[in-house]
Amino acid sequence: MAAPPPLAAYALRLGDDSLILGQRLSEWCGHAPALEVDLSLANVALDLVGQATHFLGVAGEVEGKSRDADALAFKRDVLDFTNCLLVEQPNGDFAQTIARQFLFSHFQELLFDALTGSSEPRLAAIAAKAVKEVTYHAQLASDWVVRLGDGADESKARMSAGLDWMWRFVDELFAMDALDNTLLKQGVAIDKAQLRPAWDARIESVLADAMLSRPAQRRPVLGGREGHHSEHLGHLLSEMQFLQRAYPGAMW
């Protein structure tokens, strides 16, 4: 299979991040620790599914193979998904879910904020709308990190464990590869490595407020952008794609 145009591949990454995290969060629906939490997690999931729909739509359009957002979401297998590994991590307990959201949403907010200046107008327009949503996601997650970290002993232990679990996947968020560099030269993509200091400062500040320390640095786990995922993604896809796979060609 010929490589897709760089812009399509880039839009796909952005869409896959949102899609997979939205799918994960929607698993909570009806089962959260409190009604208010249930509503806010569903809200975030809804925003993410919306972003995914837009980004995947652009990817399909640029690719020019008559694949729409649904075809891309429901008819690709793991090797063709290019989301980062962080977003596909299982929900675990509420602290683990919050750790994932906290680390990702701050990254996504910085990314989208920069992307509003992209030379590609479709990406800039999606980012401009989405950055407002993501600012709320980052705030929501930060508030919970502080509540849990500076709450009770059990919540502190769980919050630390959740951050520790997710920390391996942080470096991948900021990793630049050939695709990023090609599009960066054209003014389309963002230099993610340059977002890292701002991200570090935000994370440090919230962790300090939460009386938590930064997890120990470990060897980063990478591979999501090349389609090499954790074992979890295949299961997520088999559930998400079940109807489209069981009834090929059906309209819903």
Binding site: S26, L46, G151, L243, W252
Partner: protein, 334 residues
Amino acid sequence: MYTTDLSGKDKKKSEPIPLAQEDPALLAAFEARVANDEFIEPKDWMPEAYRRTLVRQISQHAHSEIVGMLPEGNWITRAPNLRRKAILLAKVQDEGGHGLYLYAAAETLGTSRAEMIEALHSGRAKYSTIFNYPTLTWADIGAIGWLVDGAAIMNQVPLQRTSYGPYARAMVRVCKEESFHQRQGYEIMMALAAGSREQKRMAQDALNRWWWPSLMMFGPPDDKSPNTEQSIRWRIKRETNDELRQKFVDVSVPQAEAIGLRIPDKKLRWNEARGAYDFGEIDWEEFYSVVRGEGPVARERMAARVKAWDEGAWVRDAAQAHAAKRAAAKLAAE
């Protein structure tokens, strides 16, 4: 969604003050206001029996919204496309929102949300029987929106004029959202009914399974609904169970016909003289057994609620502990 009329089915705790022992002057003034279609507000005097009936009805309604998130939540991760996924997520989130403001309305009557949730988990409080049926295929999501939310609207529209102000106002907002829910459900059924052979089969099967339980949502027949008369007099209810059920049948039959689905009732036929559909006998034994908690997935539903609540205890404790710490720190700084 809406709670089935389960009047008198909650296990009794203590009896409220009987009406006969209320202050006659206050009672007469109260009855006159209600008869005059005025709203009763939280700080107004009200008979204990009125308060108790409302707490029971509103909390059952709230519990139904929350438990009702489960059967539909079952399909969010498997929704067939992005649009359906987003709509279903938004819908289930709406149900949670309804639960939240119904709990808030019930709290104005002096019962806390924690007490109400405890009553649900211990089995003392009931919720709509409809949610104790399983969602087996995607078509069930269509059938629930179309029929269950359709029945809910029938039940709730009159409640926008119910006598208790906070409940009536909550209903205004709930009804707006329910009509969107009903349309999305019918739209799912339309797509399936116009789809492949397998999709049509799914749609018809879902209608077959959800039709009778939907009719049961209106509660027992009028001659077996002991509290109806009192509730109508107090404007807690505005139409009887049988009246609402008939309305629902009359609206739903042409909707099924329009998309080529068959209502699973051999006795269903248009009665020219009544200007309404005659329909078959409801299996009341099934209804009462589901009310008793013997619905096909009643145990799964309650287990899921209790699990979410128990596993979330440390989160709620942490939030409280954190709020207390911050409040103490603020106080110390002043």
